[in-house]
Symmetry: C2
Subunit: 234 residues, 2 copies
DNA sequence: CGTCCATTTGATCAGGGTCAAGACGAGTGG
DNA sequence: CCACTCGTCTTGACCCTGATCAAATGGACG
């Protein structure tokens, strides 16, 4: 029964306006969680018993179709909530969450959700805002899928990943977790073959630099040009 | 300054647990709205000054890309809220809303949102549940776009439309508002040409029956078979 | 009756999926 | 330390789905 430190969460927007006493109460209900790379925090269709806050690492949110193919819905970075299905009136998780690297998280039983909403100022507003921005994000990607070519979608995905989950290096902005061609294919609705060809072409032009499960965006601007690229579908 | 009748909204889940006095207060703040077919209730990017409740009709929610092509994000039926961007921390509308037929709606200034949330029991829960189900819906469509063939997507779109916005007739379930091949193309990320060919083939097989801007699903079951259809991608 | 829009249908062609094979690297066990 | 194995990545060849281009038909409505 170790005591979690308030500093873990005190700086997050989510808890910014909470009183120290409330933070302690929040932490008292939390279960710390270590997840090794590749294992699931929760599985699609499973009963939504908990919601989570990712403290460190990166998580891949994946939907699997009845036919068996997978789509990566989004990546979660440290500081974000995950598994908040319960907030939306669901009682099962709509997707699986897989640790892309070793992760540290806090877990709360779903039963605590209402009390968080009721008692922590700003908690409801912040999480619903999160849900709202995710809705927007997914809608934007739907529009992309409907109107853009594969090349543009891949360019946009890389740009977004570098932006959101990148770490600046001398070579450029490197995506901060291992990511395969297959992963990018599952984000953009294409095949690893096509992704491989596209990335090879871009690496040749110096726009990105690669490696095994590893991508660095060297020239974000030129990547964006590719993303805007092509003529519309009319 | 006509008095709106409580019965307009009393039966909606949204206001089910509100007291009559509260309903009157809600209606007092509302502005009734008639929208003729084809005109916009609000426009993408415009300041979100109001939120709406559709009382009668059908509304098309459309996103337009910088390149100029459009995607139909969803259709709204009577009884649903629309323009609730404000609830999600936005101050502009993320899409345009176009009346698919002549519509009747109520409009409230966005400034009233917080008081609705605070004072009407169940209002917050219901709307956030709505947002949650829309998020799920869009995610499901993203997965479809990423993994399915055009034929399946079109089949699924028709099925969904007939299900959600259909009216039973002796010939089958007819989609309750005028809808063109172009519309279906914009829902499924394809072209009106391809939609026309697919629908012609299905009409020949007796699965659907068509007309100008008008579709009846004769055999939903066979449509679903088409939607499941094909082998997965990989 | 003329105009406009929705729809149909044919012909062509290319983006990118599928199939196939091999190269490269990393981790594992002997 | 090396051989082996497994998973990632690359690359070529082929072909299919569905976009594009083009044109005609048919209603609906003023």
């Amino acid at each position: 029964m170790s005591q979690l430190d308030r500093s873990l969460i005190a700086t997050l927007p989510l808890f910014r306006s909470a009183h120290p006493a409330e933070l302690d109460r929040v932490l008292a209900g939390a279960r710390p969680l270590r997840v090794t790379k590749g294992t699931a925090i929760f599985e699609q269709e499973a009963e939504a018993h908990s919601f989570f806050l990712l403290l460190d690492g990166h998580i891949r949110v994946v939907k699997t179709t009845p036919a068996g193919d997978q789509v990566i819905v989004r990546y979660i970075s440290a500081g974000e909530m995950i598994g908040i299905a319960h907030a939306l009136g669901r009682d099962t998780y709509p997707a699986s969450a897989i640790a892309a690297v070793d992760c540290v998280a806090l877990a709360w039983p779903s039963s605590l959700w209402p009390s968080f909403v009721a008692q922590i100022p700003g908690f409801a507003a912040t999480t619903y805002q999160t849900v709202g921005s995710r809705l927007e994000d997914v809608q934007a990607r739907l529009v992309e899928m409907a109107t853009e070519q594969v090349e543009q979608r891949v360019a946009r995905a890389l740009h977004r990943l570098a932006e959101q989950s990148g770490r600046q290096t001398e070579a450029g902005r490197r995506i901060d977790f291992p990511i395969s061609r297959q992963d990018i294919a599952e984000m953009t609705g294409t095949t690893l073959h096509t992704v491989s060809r596209l990335l090879a072409a871009r690496e040749a032009r110096g726009i990105i630099a690669g490696g095994r499960q590893q991508i660095t965006v060297v020239e974000p601007a030129r990547l964006l040009v590719l993303a805007e690229g092509r003529a519309p579908r009319g």
